[in-house]
């Protein structure tokens, strides 16, 4: 399983965090698309998100490892 954390507006769809199945060799892009399929209303906001793992932003072509916690990061709106 992979634990996925959500912030800001995305919590409205997913709550703070959910657990999803681990899929071998899944890229960040594919992972985001899988989330969008679970919750189609979130598909559009998800396209604007970045992903962080281990407190670092990762690239969309990276593959997601088992046992990692994934943080889905909507566009910043601080300040």
């Amino acid at each position: 399983m992979i634990k996925v954390h959500f912030f800001a507006a995305l919590k409205q769809y997913f709550t703070d965090s959910i657990s999803v199945e681990f899929i071998e060799n899944e890229t960040v892009t594919d992972f985001i698309q899988r989330l969008a399929q679970f919750y189609p209303d979130a598909a559009e906001p998800l396209t604007k998100c970045r992903v962080a793992i281990n407190e670092e932003f990762v690239s969309f072509s990276d593959t997601i490892q088992s046992q990692t916690e994934v943080y889905v990061i909507p566009p910043s709106s601080g300040g």
């Binding site: 912030f7 800001a8 409205q12 670092e56 909507p74 566009p75 601080g78 300040g79």
Partner: protein, 150 residues
């Protein structure tokens, strides 16, 4: 956690830390909660952050600013939680020998923090509605989700 705080930001104390005998210029930016946004009356903003990554992101931006410009001091602190009208949500302080670097670096830091740090504003309006914010230097229409609180 150096750059993210749940406490009120003591802007004067932060300014005093920027004083340096080699610096001829200090530029300070204070990003405050204002009572209006896109025609709506704002009551307060509740800021959420992915604290650990926001802190690291701000630290990196400050390091980058110090590499780009010759600065004696550069700091940025962002408050999270409920921030009232006129209160400071974020402060940026930069000290340098001449003023040009201080202005340029200060602006670079706040632009980068707003663009990159995982911090989100949740605006609460006088009419009882609330909205998760997008940074609105863009003039485009608002794509954000609007929902009522009961």
């Amino acid at each position: 956690m150096q750059h993210i705080t749940q406490q009120e930001i003591n802007v004067c104390a932060e300014y005093n830390k920027a004083k340096h005998p080699e610096s001829g210029a200090i530029v300070m930016f204070s990003g405050d909660v204002r009572n209006h946004n896109k025609g709506q009356k704002v009551k307060y903003i509740d800021y959420e952050a992915y604290d650990a990554l926001a802190d690291k992101t701000i630290a990196k931006i400050l390091t980058e600013a110090k590499e780009k410009w010759d600065l004696q001091y550069a700091e940025c602190i962002h408050r999270i939680g409920k921030v009232g009208i006129c209160e400071t949500a974020v402060v940026v302080l930069v000290s340098s020998v001449h003023r040009k670097e201080a202005y340029d670096a200060n602006r670079f830091i706040i632009d980068q923090v707003k663009a990159l740090a995982p911090i989100w504003k949740h605006e609460f309006f006088e009419d009882g509605t609330s909205k998760w914010g997008a940074n609105c230097d863009c003039a485009s229409e608002d794509h954000e989700h609007l929902h009522h609180h009961h």
